[in-house]
């Protein structure tokens, strides 16, 4: 009995320790993030930080840059050498005299949790489109406003990448790199089925039972509810950001029907599956396909002769990752200087020469390898561009998307 009491006392003490630190910090974070959880409660600190940001001048640095970025998204070290591009990290460090401390993430949600928990003092993050609208939402308030006076190179931005739907005023974010999602395919399989792909392909290759029958069991789609239901919505002629339950139900139904023809939902290895012949049609991101095509190509083998990638004629999804200053920033002036550095024409060219992604930096075009610049897989034609849609944050309707995806899979 006594033992039990002592045990209970220990539990109570621990619980008390937890709840008190919880009470001090804020009410929006999960229990367990015990220290430094300053989200909504940190309004005064925020305005102080905002004032600091607004006072930054061009080229000013106020300490080392804590950069929280996707993996393999900036050329540095031996990787830069391999690609024959400038080591942008070293160049920035040399120009400014401050260091860049890099930390990496693999999905937006992980990054969001980190910033929300507030544990680490990241100065600059690179969230994707829909994540910017979530983080900039006044209710969430995780992003600081950019001091545009400190970033003169904003003038280099392609007008296509300004006034974006998820940050209409552009006050919270600056585009970094962009790309599309569409279909990668094997010429051989499409030829054998008599599908003409020269003048464009259709999402029907997946969703039309007749058209897709020859490829049954050889199709992969992204394991991502917004992308994959988005493809179905595009095929039906709806917006990928629909909040109409009827339209979503219709998309769910055709995906459920296609499920029997789909071999796998895979967001990590869709390109490898295509290249190894496991699939002949693969839904995926352009950068993934391009990277694999390039890697597979040797002096005697040109993967581009066997595989292609297109955004289907019905349209597809365009994504963009953007630089933003989170509330956790401690060196915002360095962050602004870095944004300006990336928007420089030459640096922007090096970035795309390394990532093989679309550059939002118009001035950088003259420094981009012409092979990349002329490749419609990287830089879509005007016609395709017009049919691309950004994934927008649909608020609470996102719950319907994740349930619809689970339901379609069965």
């Amino acid at each position: 009995m006594r033992r039990l009491l002592i045990l209970l006392a220990v539990v109570a003490m621990l619980a008390a320790a937890c709840s008190s630190s919880d009470g001090e910090s804020s009410d929006t974070t999960a229990a367990g993030g015990d220290e430094g959880t300053t989200t909504t409660a940190a309004a005064p600190a925020d305005s102080e930080l905002q004032a600091k940001i607004n006072a930054c001048t061009v080229g000013e640095t106020d300490g080392d840059l804590n950069l929280y970025n996707w993996t393999e998204y900036i050329p540095y070290g031996s990787e830069a050498e391999d690609y024959g591009v400038t080591d942008l990290v070293a160049k920035f460090e040399e120009e400014t005299g401050v260091k860049i401390v890099q930390t990496f993430y693999e999905d937006n949600e992980t990054m969001l949790s980190q910033i929300e928990a507030g544990g680490a003092p990241y100065d600059l993050i690179v969230p994707s489109d829909y994540m910017v609208s979530t983080m900039a939402d006044p209710e969430v308030g995780l992003l600081m406003k950019i001091n545009t006076d400190a970033v003169p190179n904003l003038k280099n931005l392609d007008p296509k990448f300004t006034n974006l739907p998820f940050d209409p005023t552009g006050e919270f974010s600056v585009p970094y790199q962009a790309g599309t999602s569409g279909l990668g395919y094997s010429f051989e399989a499409l030829d054998a089925a008599g599908v003409d792909y020269e003048s464009g392909i259709s999402w029907g290759l997946i969703f039309d039972p007749d058209m897709s029958a020859p490829f049954a069991g050889k199709i992969s789609m992204l394991n991502d509810e917004r992308e994959t239901l988005g493809a179905a919505l595009k095929y039906l002629g709806y917006s990928v950001n629909t909040t109409s339950q009827a339209e979503l139900d219709e998309a769910t139904a055709i995906l459920k029907d296609a499920n029997s023809r789909i071999a796998a939902y895979d967001s990590a290895a869709f390109d490898d599956l295509l290249m190894s012949g496991e699939t002949v049609i693969a839904h995926g991101w352009n950068g993934g396909f391009l990277g694999s095509f390039d890697q597979a190509s040797t002096d005697d083998y040109d993967a581009y002769e066997f595989f292609g990638y297109q955004v289907p004629v019905e349209g597809g999804i365009i994504w963009v990752d953007l630089m933003a200053i989170p509330v956790t920033a401690e060196h915002p002036c360095t962050a602004l200087t870095f944004i300006n550095f990336i928007l420089d024409a030459e640096n922007g060219g090096d970035l795309t020469n390394y990532t093989y992604y679309m550059s939002p930096n118009l001035a950088a075009y003259e420094y981009i390898d012409p092979d990349i610049l002329d490749d419609p897989m990287v830089f879509p034609t005007e016609e395709t561009m017009a049919k691309l849609e950004f994934i927008a944050d649909v608020g609470d309707f996102s719950l319907e998307y994740s349930d619809a995806f689970a339901a379609a899979k069965g």
Binding site: V10, T28, A30, D107, E116, E139, S398, S402, A406, A407
Partner: protein, 298 residues
Amino acid sequence: MTMLDERPSEEANPELERKAERAESWRGFFTALPTYLYLVVFFVLPLIIITVISFAERSRTGKPVLGEWTLDWWIKLGDPLVRSVVFRSVWLAFLNTLLSLLLGYPFAYWIATRKSALMRNFLLVLVLIPFWSNFLVRTYAWRTLLDSNGLVTKVGEMTGLWGKMLFTEPAVFLGLLYGYLPFMVLPLYAAIEHLDWNLVEAARDLYADARKAFIKVTLPLSKPGIIAGSILVFIPSLGAYVTPDLLGGSKTTLLGNYIVTQFKSGRNWPFGAALSVTILAIMMVATIIYFRKGGKTL
């Protein structure tokens, strides 16, 4: 604790005896303290936390809003979608447990009945060797074996017995069976090895044939191993996440994947918490039933 009841009875002084008992009990408590702390910090507290979270409203980013409470997430568990996900996962875990038992029992029996201890240990090491490398790596290896050009596929095509298995349900079962079979074999081995073979002999002396002796004597005596093995296989199979994703091509939604979705793109931590508590409850109930059926002989 019941083990400590047997005490030398020559101590007549009840006062002294009580003192000794108390000292002993304190000693016991302090000896067990690290374990208590471990369980409280890494099991009880997290469990309390996720239970609390499951009753919270969700914020716009999917995090729980402590202070605003709701029963929505628990009600959502009754959705046909959720029910089918739970049912499918339980069924898969049950089938895998059954398969493991059918395959693991003869295997364990064979190892346990080898005469030489060296041979037995050698065979056990063979069972354990796969654990020397990471489960994820081993699952990826299966992917290579099962794909169109894989060894398993080639053998199947040559013999005409099976085709390509990657991204099919048999592949998921194969992966699960492979991953969790050792958890079945080891407890079964322990149970069968400690079996009193004189009892089997006695059964045979009483004119039971081999089959009857096995069913009436060997099988009941190895029941603790069957129960322990089944629990050890059922629980991880229920939460299986990597195998259905990598070998099954995430073609069906299972509990493990459904929970991950809630914490990531689904942005609904409270519902994810409610699902996690549910999975724990199912496991608890399954364990209790097993224990009830098998007595306390573990």
